[in-house]
């Protein structure tokens, strides 16, 4: 089992990043939409945002590590895509990095606008870096827009993956799930 990425496909680390973050990001979106509608007397009124903030900070670190891992590894080939598809997939992939980074930072700014740190599950504090009067309100609006944009991009990304898998008989989906070895071996045997 490959740890690093190769030109054939994704190694274990990239695949773990991909699927774990995908599940957590979708869960965070659902948690976020649900928690902002909570009644003041809900038992989760305080704990749900605490969990959301904690997970968000972990996602921010994970995103930075993932980006470092991405630029430090060979890029798996996408030559079975058309030039247009290749451009689109480049846009979607880097769009995710930019959107997620902005999304996570905007969330961080909501909670730290008046100087309070974010406690990550009580394990450690992420200090406030930027303080500005009233910053929490524009940051919150941006956070909401970016969250919906991220999910929209995820839908595009998923539909594209399914299209490549079912219509183009491409291995892009299977290699993200099981790595490069199986598919490339299979290709060789065929």
């Amino acid at each position: 089992m490959l740890i690093r990425d190769t030109s054939e496909g994704y190694g274990l680390i990239s695949r773990l990043f991909h699927w774990l973050m995908a599940v957590v990001i979708v869960a965070m979106f659902i948690l976020g939409v649900w928690m902002v509608g909570l009644d003041y007397y809900s038992p989760y009124y305080n704990s749900a945002p605490d969990i959301h903030r904690s997970v968000g900070m972990i996602l921010l670190f994970a995103l930075i590590l993932r980006w470092l891992w991405r630029i430090g590894n060979p890029k798996p080939t996408d030559e079975d895509l058309s030039p247009l598809e290749r451009k689109a997939s480049w846009g979607v992939h880097w769009g995710f990095y930019v959107l997620l980074f902005a999304l996570l930072v905007s969330g961080y700014l909501i909670s730290t606008a008046d100087g309070d740190p974010i406690s990550v599950f009580g394990w450690f504090d992420v200090p406030s870096v930027v303080q500005a009067r009233g910053l929490e309100t524009p940051a919150g609006k941006i956070h909401r827009i970016l969250a919906y944009a991220t999910i929209a991009l995820a839908v595009v990304h998923s539909l594209a993956a399914l299209k490549h898998h079912f219509f183009d008989k491409s291995t892009v989906l299977t290699r993200m799930w099981s790595g490069p070895n199986q598919s490339s071996e299979k290709d060789r045997h065929e």
Partner: protein, 192 residues
């Protein structure tokens, strides 16, 4: 000579004073923050939560001899709400509470002032908050006034009222103990 002048001056002064006095106009000293708009509301019925509106401007007129002829007008920037917790302030500005995007301004303008005791009065007027205008009354008190050390003349007042949030279309349920909020205006004005 001195007596003569005094004899002349006295009736003149009396005449001036008997003329319905023109109230002096004051600008509320928000620039140097000798004025505050604060509120408090019960948290769960267990304690008082306090907050302020940090940005506002206003003027009043005041005539010591005829306080009932006084007037006061205050414009409040609702988005400047500050309860010392950014997350709560964000929620207070949001659509289910102050909705500051749609209602960025709150105003109070007095319509009548009735002196109840020396230095005390009920100040009635229209409060526009959350897009709803309603008549409310403050129990107000003249705190003090006179020449300040820097060549100006100041007068200061404090007034408190109690608002029912639902009256102003703020429907968010904050619990049975938090239906109403106490609003206090502390206003020091510099005579213009």
């Amino acid at each position: 000579m001195k007596f003569k002048r005094a004899a002349f001056a006295a009736p003149l002064a009396a005449t001036l004073m008997s003329v319905p006095a023109v109230a002096a106009d004051y600008k509320i000293d928000t620039e140097n923050a000798h004025a505050a708009i604060s509120f408090r509301i019960k948290h769960l019925g267990f304690s008082w939560l306090t907050g302020r509106f940090d940005k506002f401007t206003g003027t009043f007129s005041y005539d010591e001899k005829n306080p009932d002829a006084s007037k006061v007008k205050v414009d409040i920037d609702t988005a400047s709400v500050d309860t010392n917790l950014a997350l709560r302030d964000k929620h207070l500005r949001a659509a289910d509470l102050l909705d500051t995007d749609n209602f960025p301004k709150a105003t109070f303008e007095s319509t009548s002032i009735k002196t109840t005791a020396p230095g005390k009065a009920v100040v009635t007027g229209n409060l526009t908050l959350h897009g709803v205008t309603k008549q409310i009354s403050f129990n107000a008190e003249h705190v003090g006034g006179g020449k300040d050390p820097w060549g100006g003349y100041r007068d200061g007042f404090t007034g408190t009222t109690e608002l029912t949030l639902a009256d102003f279309g703020i429907k968010r349920d904050l619990g049975p103990a938090a239906k109403t909020v106490e609003l206090t205006l502390d206003l020091e004005g510099v005579r213009q």
